[in-house]
């Protein structure tokens, strides 16, 4: 994995500085990869419509949420190499703010979830300035602490329903034309958020800011010596990695019809997101996507299969163990090591 990152770094580093914005856009448009992201997003978004399959929509919706979580977490884990165990706090808090605004204040859904994203990012920046001074295990512990603290706060915060949370009525979906079309609307938005997450990962990786972040991941002290403003960069990437998961949280919980503290701040989901990254390949853009889809499909398959449904957790655990033990670079790392031409297409 480190070698593939340093190659990416070297590749990104060959671009000349001092370009105009139009040049910048043109440079990306010429590359095949962003187009792959756009096509992929469109395919996911349209597949359930074309196949007229609501079950497929539900499965892809979960996958889109997972991709969003994994891909944004990858900015921390894969790029900056800071393990954020409490990443689910973005999702949960964004969910609460979004659902609260959309139901209690009847704010437009899109504005509500965007507000959730902005609030969470702002908070993350402030927190980030504080806790990103910590490194390694201490940072990981601090992120769990943040999640637990917010969890405890929300459990006792009566305007958000306290321990029982906020229950949505069917009327909440009326502005979107009833629950039936409301759920489709949430689906399209979630797929869009997933696409934006991937483009964001790509944009950061190919930017000067991204170079700084990757340098922090390789060796933070060296990066600081070379002039990367590490505390500020780390706080910014922490804040950025919270924005889209928070938006996704608002959409997801609005779609679920209920948000309650134990479901919103569930550490298990945090860990699952980390597993997806490891499965697909940390530090790459495609990796978390592959990981998230594989994970979701695997769990779904085991859950529905007649033979395995009683053993699904055992099998999922065993498979993950095998992957982590024998393919530490993740699936994408393994492929890229064997098929170098893939590197241009799957970053």
């Amino acid at each position: 994995m480190p070698s593939s990152i340093s190659q990416d770094v070297a590749k990104a580093g060959t671009f000349k500085p001092q370009r105009s914005f139009a040049d910048e856009i043109y440079r990306h448009v010429r590359e095949p990869f962003p187009w792959l992201i756009v096509i992929f997003t469109a395919v996911v978004g349209l597949a359930p419509v074309v196949m007229d399959d609501v079950s497929l929509r539900e499965s892809l919706l979960l996958a889109a949420v997972y991709v969003t979580l994994a891909s944004n977490l990858n900015l921390m884990i894969g790029y900056a190499e800071y393990v954020n165990f409490g990443n689910i706090v973005f999702f949960g808090l964004g969910g609460y703010i979004g659902v609260y605004l959309a139901t209690s204040w009847h704010v437009n859904l899109v504005l509500s979830v965007l507000a959730g994203g902005v609030c969470v990012s702002a908070l993350a920046y402030l927190f980030g300035r504080g806790i990103l001074g910590l490194r390694g295990a201490f940072f990981a512990l601090a992120t769990i602490g943040v999640n637990e603290a917010i969890h405890a706060f929300v459990t006792n915060f009566e305007p958000w329903g306290g321990a029982t949370g906020i229950y949505l009525s069917m009327d909440a979906y009326e502005p979107l034309g009833g629950p039936m079309s409301g759920l489709w609307f949430c689906y399209y938005l979630l797929v869009l958020v997933m696409g934006l997450s991937l483009l964001l990962s790509y944009a950061i990786k190919t930017s000067k800011f991204g170079l700084g972040i990757l340098a922090i991941g390789q060796n933070e002290d060296a990066a600081a010596v070379l002039g990367v403003p590490t505390p500020r960069y780390k706080a910014i990437i922490y804040a950025i990695s919270g924005f889209l998961p928070a938006v996704a949280g608002g959409l997801y919980f609005f779609k679920s019809g209920i948000i309650e503290p134990n479901g919103a701040f569930d550490l298990t989901t945090s860990i699952e997101a980390i597993v997806m990254i490891m499965l697909g390949g940390a530090g790459t853009i495609t990796g978390p996507v592959i990981g998230a889809f594989l994970y979701e499909e695997l769990r779904g398959f085991l859950l529905f299969s007649e033979t395995f449904s009683h053993l699904q957790l055992v099998l999922a655990g065993a498979l993950l163990l095998i992957i982590v033990l024998f393919v530490p670079g993740g699936l994408l790392g393994w492929l890229r090591a064997r098929l170098p031409w893939l590197r241009k297409w799957l970053q």
Binding site: M51, D52, D53, V54, S55, R57, E58, S59, L61, L62, G162, A163, T164, G165, Y167, L168, S169, M170, D171, P179, M180, L183, K255, S256, G257, I258, E260, N262, G263, D266, T269, G300, L303, F304, S309, H310, Q312, L313
Partner: protein, 397 residues
């Protein structure tokens, strides 16, 4: 999908033909086969299965001149809301479930209801006591348990019966469930003209209730209502006895329901607890098994005495069956209309659903029973003392 369509077309053709295939009615649900709710969900699932076997042994549900064998389709929801909507969508669209049972626990019920309501599927909610869910304008969701706010209503009834001027002390754990119950009961008590002598909440980890008990004594209260869970409830009961609080009536949530409570010895005597159902109740059912028959059959099959989750599962399913038979059809609208009219007593107690659009489907017929620990021939036993039509022993006040 395409394949499913052909199969369906073939099935429709067969059904129309002279060689009548056996009709089935598919009921879908998720159960918590893994995760923290597994224990309660499993006993509920056993209730469902026992009902299905009973019904099918008798030839199925009879409606409109046909007999429908009952088929279950179920998935594991892992005790989490994450997959509930995916699974219920699948149950409805792919497995073609005609009726639904809810998952276990209030949060999961609310999540599943978003899907069942969209498709207009009747969902029997078995295992969601939280009342918020039923105040959202759902039309096809029907609750079989008594809601949280009614947990201590039976205790107030007993007090009204024995001492209408009683002064009540509310002492309860500082957790959401106990808080909600205590606050709702306090309002009921005020409406009934009782005096609230004291109101104290304590943290879940409290081990020394001395100061609180002193306050209770000096407030001159006759009765104490409250408690929380096992550890704090049993400690509170023991210390009340040790400090000779001289209360005439004590009802605590949850803790005294456990068989372990009898280990408290003399401290347990007279303490009462609300419960959705107890095996020894003596309701006279309008149809279906009596409480004793149910308990016997269940124990024979699973080698364990049924708790209220199992009984609730069986009776909830039976109420659905009753409505289908009355409607003479498996059309969800007609069945929902029958459920709205339901006003029956089964071995689980009365069942009647609210038809007020603001709280549609909320259970308003079923009442909690009140059990009390009493000394019988030198042994501690838990007797049902309230309501009158279910009691196994007289109230000890």
């Amino acid at each position: 999908m395409r394949k499913g369509f052909y199969l369906l077309a073939a099935a429709a053709f067969l059904a129309a033909g002279p060689a009548l295939a056996e009709d089935t009615v598919t009921i879908g649900f998720t159960a918590s086969q893994t995760g923290k709710l597994n224990n309660d969900s499993t006993s509920q699932l056993r209730g469902f299965e026992l009902w299905r076997d009973d019904v099918n042994a008798k030839g199925g549900i009879k409606a409109g001149g046909k007999s429908y064998k009952v088929k279950f389709v179920s998935y594991d929801d892992e005790s989490q809301g994450t997959r509930v909507q995916q699974l219920y969508t699948r149950l409805i669209t792919q497995d073609k479930a005609q009726f639904l049972f809810s998952p276990y626990s209030s949060g999961l019920v609310a999540t599943a209801a978003i899907i069942s309501e969209q498709y207009g599927k009747v969902m029997m909610s078995i295992g969601g006591a939280e009342e918020k869910t039923y105040k959202l304008g759902n039309k096809y969701l029907f609750q079989t348990y008594t809601g949280a706010s009614q947990y201590l209503a039976g205790a107030l009834d007993v007090l009204k019966h024995k001492n209408p001027k009683a002064k009540i002390a509310f002492v309860y754990e500082d957790d959401p469930f106990s808080k909600a119950v205590a606050q709702a009961t306090r309002e009921l008590a005020k409406k009934d003209g009782f005096t609230v002598a004291l109101e104290e909440s304590y943290s879940s980890s409290t081990t020394d209730f001395g100061p609180i008990i002193n306050k209770v004594i000096s407030s001159g209260a006759d009765a104490l209502l409250g408690g929380g869970h096992y550890a704090d409830g049993s400690t509170l009961a023991r210390q009340l006895h040790d400090q000779k609080a001289k209360l005439k009536w004590v009802t605590l949530l949850v803790a005294p329901d456990s068989p372990n409570f009898s280990k408290l010895g003399d401290s347990a005597v007279g303490i009462s607890v609300p419960s959705q159902w107890e095996p020894q109740v003596t309701y006279k059912p309008d149809f279906g098994p009596t409480p004793a028959e149910f308990a016997k059959e269940f124990t024979a099959k699973y080698k364990i005495a049924p708790g209220y989750h199992a009984a609730g599962g069986y009776s909830g399913a039976m109420i659905l069956q009753h409505a289908i038979e009355k409607a003479g059809s498996i059309d969800p609208k007609k069945v929902a209309a029958e459920l709205n009219k339901t006003d029956v007593t089964t071995f689980f107690g009365k069942c009647k659903f609210s038809t007020d659009p603001k709280s549609h489907g909320l259970q308003i017929g079923h009442t909690m029973v009140l059990a009390q620990w009493q000394m019988k021939d030198g042994k501690l036993v838990k007797e049902v003392i309230w309501p009158d039509n279910a009691k196994t022993a007289n109230i000890m006040y």
